[in-house]
């Protein structure tokens, strides 16, 4: 992050109640339900990490991004994956520069202290977040993908908010970052980590809220289309699919239908645009062969009631 940006961000917005946070999130185009707003508020107020779990596509990652925008804080994101280690999550030494430096200097004149100083340090997300002077939202995305060794390490960092680099010493957080962890539950997280965190399960949004989201994210969407699209996606989630569509899919789909100049949905247009909602071939086939027409009819009926 640039120095100028840091200065601007240093004026973090102080949000003193759940209502204030909810409004601030709305202002940055994110519509949380009350539970999520409470969870994000508590994460800030209690300075505790919050773990967000929920089906794919309910907006876990988006929530952290919105929180950073709403608070005027810098977002630092650590995307987890199998094999993620300290070198990619915390810090690494710039080996190329170190080697060049040793070679360029006269023999015997390079001290270890010089070689392992700030100049040769590559700062990765966790160090960046702990060692920040400006307000920060740290997003640890898909923690369930990282392996258990890393989880244990993260637990340590989140307990003390400090990082030890053998060559440099211990770096303590001067102001604690707001920490948001997300998990898709591909595996059960360790209890110790869960105990350290606030926990919030995000459900798919209610029909009303999803309509609201569509109208916010798809400019020019017809009122009836927004309602019918949301209702249809809701029907899909209730039926038996391998990969039920998330909110992002609803938005994409409503966007596509709007571009096509649609005011509402019918069998034909659903049939041709199904690909933007369902990402698994089996689901598309099962639906085409089966209940598609019935689901469309149901959705239209729900929307008009």
């Amino acid at each position: 992050m640039h120095a100028t940006a840091c200065r601007i961000y240093a004026l973090a917005v102080d949000l003193r109640s759940v209502d204030e946070l909810e409004n601030a999130l709305r202002e940055v185009d994110y519509l949380p339900d009350r539970g999520l707003a409470t969870a994000l508020f508590l994460a800030t107020a209690l300075e505790k990490p919050v773990l967000l779990e929920g089906e794919a596509g309910v907006g876990k990652t988006e929530a952290a991004k919105a929180l950073s925008r709403a608070r005027g804080a810098r977002l630092i994101r650590l995307q987890c994956y199998e094999g993620l280690d300290v070198a990619h999550a915390v810090y690494e030494w710039n080996y190329t520069r170190q080697l060049l430096h040793i070679r360029a200097a006269q023999e015997g004149t390079v001290s270890e202290q010089e070689l392992f100083g700030q100049d040769f340090l590559i700062r990765r997300p966790l160090l960046e977040a702990i060692d920040a002077d400006d307000p920060v939202v740290l997003l640890v995305d898909e923690i369930d993908r990282a392996d258990e060794e890393f989880e244990a390490f993260l637990l340590e960092v989140l307990s003390d908010f400090q990082i030890t680099i053998p060559e440099l010493g211990t770096i303590r957080a001067r102001r604690r970052p707001v920490v948001v962890l997300t998990s898709n539950r591909t595996r059960e997280l360790h209890d110790a980590l869960k105990r350290r965190c606030l926990f919030h399960w995000i459900d798919h949004p209610s029909l009303e809220r999803e309509v609201e989201i569509v109208k916010l994210k798809v400019p020019g969407v017809a009122e009836r289309l927004a309602l019918e699209a949301a209702a249809f996606v809701r029907e899909l989630r209730a039926s038996d699919l391998e990969k039920p569509p998330g909110v992002a899919e609803t938005i994409d789909w409503a966007q596509a239908l709007t571009v096509l100049g649609r005011q509402g949905i019918d069998d034909e247009v659903v049939e041709t645009t199904l690909g933007s909602l369902l990402k698994v071939r089996e689901d598309v086939v099962a639906l085409r062969e089966g209940r598609l027409a019935a689901l469309v009819a149901d959705a239209v009926a729900v929307a008009s009631s």
Binding site: S17, E112, F199, H200
Partner: protein
């Protein structure tokens, strides 16, 4: 809400106790967080009180239902009488989580006695069908099983560790060492991939036709779970996740917990429907992806064999390897004639018996060396 605010704070400890009685893990630190949380959000809005307590006290999705009941019951009681004992009982029985603790140590005394019985008896036990074991023999088998279960399938991790014969340069060490030689690269330290246990998912049929084998298989599962992370499920007409039940150290305590939760112990079998439930709920969370999946069942399907075939196909697509153990296969001349078994077999990589200790040892050997897509 405001009038009841003080009572609410005062009674929060009681609420924590109520949740614990239901089987949720609520440490003292969590109640302190709940108090701080309520102070921060205020008590004006019931929704905020609800979510604050939920987010601070509960850390598993499976506990949310329990929480909702406890919360409703507690709200009724705030400012008035204490919770009725009845509520606690309802909660306790509704719980799907373990309550911890190692009860039931009665079996231990017999162990010393049985170990003096001599090797020949052990030999006989190895071959004896689980269905024919008496109580004492079963205990001996349990002891032997705890050794067998320790073997796990393995895979190479993406993590690296220093190794003399690795393929990747360990640049960090390289820089450190070259410092001594003024930047000359004298030796090239390397790193290699670690080998770690592969995910193991076990689905155990506990329906009526499997009853004689279920207990031995669950003991096997318990032993396996002690050796590392195993995701274990029992099924009959429906699927039950056993992972947390098997965490107890004592096999008998673990079995007691399992039998409490598996309500359809000894009822009919719907393998296809149970697998579907597994694929829907856990497969979607990628629990089975890259895992060795072991199914223990005799293949007597009461439901639709076609559904079973379909769900087996789904499972085998996600899994690294599918092993089916069938106690009937131990019978000389056994042919997989059961419709369910026939529907499932095309998607099974290894088809093994599991009727005695010997065959479970065979299973352990197979698991240790398993590779993808063996012929059945």
């Amino acid at each position: 809400m405001t009038q009841t605010g003080d009572a609410l704070l005062a009674d929060l400890v009681g609420f924590g106790r109520l949740l614990r009685a239901g089987g949720a893990e609520v440490g003292p630190g969590r109640v302190a967080d709940a108090v701080r949380g309520l102070e921060a959000v205020g008590l004006r809005d019931d929704r905020d009180v609800y979510f604050t307590l939920r987010q601070t006290l509960v850390s598993h999705r499976e506990e949310l239902e329990l929480f909702d009941r406890a919360f409703a019951s507690w709200m009724r009681g705030v400012g008035a009488a204490r919770l009725e004992e009845q509520d606690v009982k309802v909660l306790a029985s509704a719980s799907t989580r373990r309550s911890g603790g190692d009860e039931g140590r009665e079996g231990e005394e017999r162990q010393g006695e049985t170990s003096t019985r001599g090797a020949s008896i052990v030999e006989v036990l190895r071959q004896k069908d689980f269905a024919l074991l008496d109580e004492g023999e079963l205990e001996e088998v349990a002891r032997l099983l705890s050794e067998v279960g320790r073997v796990r399938p393995r895979r190479t991790s993406r993590r690296l560790r220093p190794s003399a014969r690795g393929q990747r340069l360990d640049v960090r060490r390289l820089v450190r060492r070259s410092l001594r030689s003024g930047g000359e690269l004298v030796e090239l330290p390397t790193r290699t991939r670690k080998v770690v246990p592969r995910k193991l998912v076990v689905l155990c049929d506990v329906s009526g036709s499997m009853a004689p084998y279920a207990r031995a298989l669950l003991l096997f599962l318990h032993a396996t779970a002690q050796a590392g992370r195993v995701e274990a499920f029992a099924f009959g007409t429906r699927l039950h996740r056993l992972t947390s039940d098997l965490a107890a150290r004592n096999p008998d305590a673990a079995l007691a917990q399992v039998s409490q939760h598996v309500v359809d112990w000894g009822s009919g079998t719907r393998i296809g429907a149970s697998l579907k439930q597994f694929n829907d709920e856990y497969g979607r969370q990628a629990l089975s992806r890259g895992a060795v999946v072991v199914i223990a069942s005799d293949g007597w399907e009461r439901g639709d064999p076609e559904l079973l075939g379909r769900e087996m196909a789904r499972l085998s697509r996600a899994a690294y390897s599918v092993v089916w153990i069938n106690p009937l296969k131990g019978t000389p001349g056994y042919e997989p004639l059961a419709q369910g078994m026939r529907a499932a077999l095309p998607f099974v990589d290894r088809f093994l018996p599991g009727h005695n200790l010997d065959s479970l040892e065979g299973l352990a050997g197979v698991l240790a060396g398993i590779e993808r897509r063996h012929a059945a």
